[in-house]
């Protein structure tokens, strides 16, 4: 009995003739962690802003737990949106948290305090005096302590170092385990977050080019490199994405999972096999545009 938390149908957003979003459709199951992946300018922020009711679509519809978000306070209180470079009024950290606590019905002051300590955020500090990373941390604290049913994170960690990002991932998992909710996370640090995601939605030039279970994408494509002749022999009859050659060496990306026999064959042909990381896969998916989903489906069948 799965419920749909976010349902997007035919969503289009035009700016001065440019389509920031073009016929975007997808669904997000309630209680899942979904990665919204794509290059800068692919349309991720526009999409999240529309989901959060902060922007109007030119066409198409968005439903959050069955209701449209725009100017709908009942929906907005069930949803928190943490944006990259959130601008705050001239407040101290603790004031921002208090205001957030009035707005979100499930707000946890204990969690907010614990996260402040984790990120070493001084509650008495003026927000405008915070570094970029600390401002990002404040956004994360609000996003998590809100315990909103639908949590939208748009590149939430600008300026945060690797240690602080790890704290974010660990706390997010711990919170999610205790208080499951729907989390949509847009990120360009794809490989870092890959393991946390249940599903991924890849957008490019305003279009959805791939939606899949994150775990299904592991090993679904591999880079094969070695002598040209051996590469040709190994890849004959397979779907190839990218082909590069220098002197007598070739490197290609083969689509489709490889089994033990394939790997043994590659070894005997002296070929290097390396599975594409999610990040690399997204790069290729974007380059292939809308064909990606079809290709992956065909090769995994």
């Amino acid at each position: 009995m799965t419920q749909t938390a976010i349902s997007v149908t035919g969503l289009t957003r035009r700016y001065h003739g440019h389509r920031a979003l073009d016929q975007v459709s997808f669904e997000v199951e309630a209680g899942s962690i979904v990665g919204l992946l794509g290059r800068n300018g692919a349309g991720k922020t526009t999409l999240l802003r529309i989901l959060a009711g902060q922007e109007f679509p030119s066409a198409g519809s968005v439903l959050i737990h069955g209701a449209p978000p725009t100017e709908n306070e009942a929906v907005l209180r069930r949803m928190v949106f943490v944006r990259e470079d959130q601008v705050y009024p001239d407040f101290k950290v603790r004031h921002a948290l208090r205001i957030a606590s009035w707005f979100y019905p499930n707000w946890s002051p204990e969690l907010a305090d614990a996260l402040l300590a984790d990120f070493e955020l001084p509650p008495g500090r003026a927000i405008k005096k915070l570094s970029r990373g600390m401002r990002s941390a404040l956004g994360i604290v609000i996003g998590m302590a809100a315990r909103a049913e639908v949590t939208l994170f748009d590149e939430p960690y600008a300026g945060l170092d690797a240690v602080a990002r790890q704290i974010f991932y660990d706390r997010l998992l711990a919170e999610y385990a205790e208080h499951p909710r729907t989390i949509l996370l847009s990120t360009h640090l794809i490989d870092e977050a890959a393991g946390l995601l249940e599903r991924v939605i890849v957008i490019d030039h305003g279009r959805v080019v791939l939606t899949a279970d994150a775990d299904d994408l592991r090993g679904v494509a591999s880079a094969v490199s070695g002598p040209v002749l051996a590469v040709d022999e190994f890849t004959a009859g397979r779907v190839l994405w990218d082909r590069r050659r220098v002197a007598s060496q070739a490197s290609v990306v083969v689509v489709g999972a490889l089994d033990e026999a394939d790997r043994a064959r590659a070894r005997s042909l002296r070929l290097e096999l390396s599975p594409l990381t999610l990040q690399q896969l997204v790069v290729h998916a974007a380059a292939q545009q809308a064909n990606t989903a079809d290709t992956l489906e065909r090769t995994s069948a």
């Binding site: 870092e192 775990d215 033990e260």
Partner: protein, 135 residues
């Protein structure tokens, strides 16, 4: 991806979680009747999505290697270790002997020379020459 506690890129995570638990059961690190880590414990340790961890656990449960006890968790089923060791024995030729033979052929090492090498190596290692697994 160092933050994933040594999991590799090329295989679905759920399969790797299942494989690691199976290894632990086969090695006796997880005894029969013992409780295995919960989905959330595995998720926190490997830093992965709990649904992925659950899929790994369910794979072993569907295989009859784990049994669910409602409200308490999952436990290593009785006979699980014996079955896993038998499986491993079946896979021994394809996983270890065949690649060994392939590399030997490539280097021009004949069967006699290879056997001599195996005997020699076995003597210098603390290897049970009587065969069989000491349980």
């Amino acid at each position: 991806m160092p933050e994933l506690a040594g999991l590799d890129e090329g295989t679905p995570l759920f399969a790797q979680i299942a494989e690691r638990l199976a290894e632990e059961i086969a090695d006796g690190g997880l005894a029969e009747g013992e409780r295995v880590p919960s989905m959330n414990e595995l998720a926190a340790f490997y830093r992965i999505n709990p649904a992925t961890a659950a899929k790994g656990l369910n794979l072993l449960a569907d295989d009859g290697l784990l049994e669910k006890r409602r409200g308490i968790g999952m436990f290593v089923a009785s006979g699980a270790r014996k079955r896993l060791l038998a499986q491993r024995r079946e896979q021994f030729a394809s996983r270890y002997v065949e690649p060994l033979l392939a590399e030997a052929a490539r280097l021009g090492i004949g069967a006699d020379e290879l056997l001599a090498l195996v005997r020699e190596s076995a003597q210098s290692l603390p290897f049970n020459t009587q065969g069989g697994v000491t349980v």
